[in-house]
Symmetry: C2
Subunit: 349 residues, 2 copies
């Protein structure tokens, strides 16, 4: 493999992304070289940071969006950029307060397309109760960029009841998932591949802070960890969780809610839905005793009506072996769930 | 003019950028259509916002960087991205605390180049006492991007003594400038144009919060407004100030410090240094009685050793005419300083 040049897989959210962050980005920006296997360390940089600022706890996060096509069933790059950053704040246990919105535009871009993207971003922010307070606009030559890059950063106030962290996770905790997997990734990929059912398949692009805040407000410290499974899908989230806690995780295939159109698309393209990106889903680690209540709280909101307990932490079978994520399949077998290496197709978000 | 497609000048920091922000971006993202002439309104979106968060005053800002070439005398895109966002916090009267750092990389980018850019960014952040706390990495196809886009956002704590705003500016206030103009823009443009003295001309790329914080800590409310004159240069900053306050501004050419190499480059390329980008300069509006002390405070720091009073607010000659920025030239004439319409060359920052 060519290690001296950036490859598409370096942006896929899987193993190569983690390695780039650990070995190249983190050492330069924070002066600390992380352990090769310490995906948790990479997670610390890529997700929302918690700051003690002005006497309170503030969450701060950023993401750049390069999705192609710019418009897709269920959303566009503007809505995605707003929801994605809100979601990073949400899973940090924060109430989103303010967003930045920075555009890099290709010379020659249609003004009407830009208007649609911005209108969609504005509606998403308003719906979420977050205000766009600062921005930036750059334009580059026609041949220097394909379309639009949007960066959003966000700040939010961390709920005082939020007690989240790998260190709080214990054997027996349940993995709760808010709905079916892969709708965003398959909607975008189906459109790019010209699959004829692509119009039926909508991205799940949505702000999930209503879900995360409800969980924390109602269940407090029984909520131990939250994540939105974007690039790399549920697989990347669970492997990160397993590596970060040193605990096995077992999920049950038959418990995972399924969108049949997304599944059909994934099968046609030879993909595993566990590794496909979501943009409106929540994964939460919940104390076993509160797991059913968590599902009920989530299912009360439309975007999580199919929430379910899909797995358990700590089914250790080999005490001295590295921690694993395993799935009990529909046919009763077991398979290891691995961190996706690169990604199926670039520019999913 | 084609108004239905984005043009390079929409990103130039001049009149067209202001119009795009006012008529297309702000209405969509904030629901408020600004007045056509209300450049101040655009300024509110493009610079650091002040948030009441967690019981304190927090400044929040963002900028995306698309400079080409990626490396230039005096810096590179990484150093620029860190200093630029620190500077936006600085001129809001804030102490920079935390930065986000989001990369969009072209497939095939040399890893060594990326390492240099990141190392430079890391050093700049460390030197400024700001911590990179969150980030993101995306990779796009070889033909979809030329090089690197970096977005940085920043949060800082606003100094309690800071009392900044157009509404505080009065006739007689002085315009203080921290050093010679156009070094960043001319360093980048000379390199792109292959001018043979390009190596002698270094970008002024530097963090200026040491300047801004010293002024506020020492002079308090005598500091009325601060800005870093980047895209559009000093001209754009002063026109914004004039429009925002409804007051005339007079600057004196002979009082403005000059870098002779930057001036020679500007003359060769037919440019006005007043409109060329700076990345390490501070413009401050200071109460007349404190102006000399402000210059002394600035000149005490190496990057502002040539600080000077360069103008005055409120030399109104025609009470009913729109506010103007005028410059008394070296030969004793007067000329109007206008908002640059587009920009000379794209991708200066």
């Amino acid at each position: 493999m060519d290690t001296e040049h950036i490859q598409l897989a370096h942006g896929g959210g899987g193993q190569l992304t983690a390695e780039l962050i650990e070995h190249v980005i983190l050492p330069a920006l924070s002066g600390v070289e992380a352990e090769a296997s310490d995906v948790q360390q990479a997670g610390r940089l890529t997700d929302a940071a918690s700051l003690d600022l002005a006497g309170g706890s503030v969450a701060f996060t950023t993401d750049s969006y390069v999705v192609k096509p710019l418009e897709f069933p269920g959303g566009n790059i503007g809505k995605l950029a707003v929801c994605g950053t809100i979601n990073d704040l949400a899973v940090a246990g924060a109430v989103p307060k303010a967003l930045s919105f920075a555009l890099v535009l290709q010379e020659g871009l249609e003004m009407e397309l830009l208007r649609r993207v911005l209108a969609s971003a504005g509606r998403a922010a308003e719906k979420a109760g977050a205000t766009v307070v600062t921005g930036d606009t750059k334009v580059v030559e026609r041949d220097a960029l394909d379309g639009i890059v949007i960066n959003t950063a966000g700040v939010g106030e961390i709920l005082p009841q939020a007690k989240l962290g790998f260190d709080r996770i214990a054997d027996g905790d349940r993995i709760v998932l808010s709905g079916p997997l892969g709708e965003h990734g398959m909607a975008v990929m189906s459109m790019r591949q010209g699959l004829n059912f692509s119009a039926e398949l909508e991205s799940d692009c949505a702000a999930i802070h209503g879900l995360s805040c409800s969980l924390i407000e109602r269940l407090g410290s029984a909520v131990k960890f939250m994540r939105d499974p974007t690039r790399g899908g549920l697989a990347a989230t669970l492997v990160e969780l397993s590596v970060g806690t040193g605990r096995d995780i077992e999920i049950v295939e038959s418990a995972i809610p399924v969108n049949r159109t997304a599944l059909a698309a994934a099968e046609m393209l030879g993909l595993d839905l566990l590794t496909v990106a979501n943009e409106g889903k929540l994964v939460a680690v919940i104390d076993a005793e509160a797991a059913d209540e968590a599902v009920a709280i989530l299912a009360n909101q439309e975007i999580a009506s199919r929430a379910a307990v899909v797995g358990t932490v700590g089914q250790v079978r080999q005490p001295d072996a590295p921690a694993l994520v395993e799935m009990v399949t529909r046919v009763g077998g077991r398979r290891v769930v691995q961190m996706p290496y690169g990604q199926q197709l670039p520019r999913i978000c």
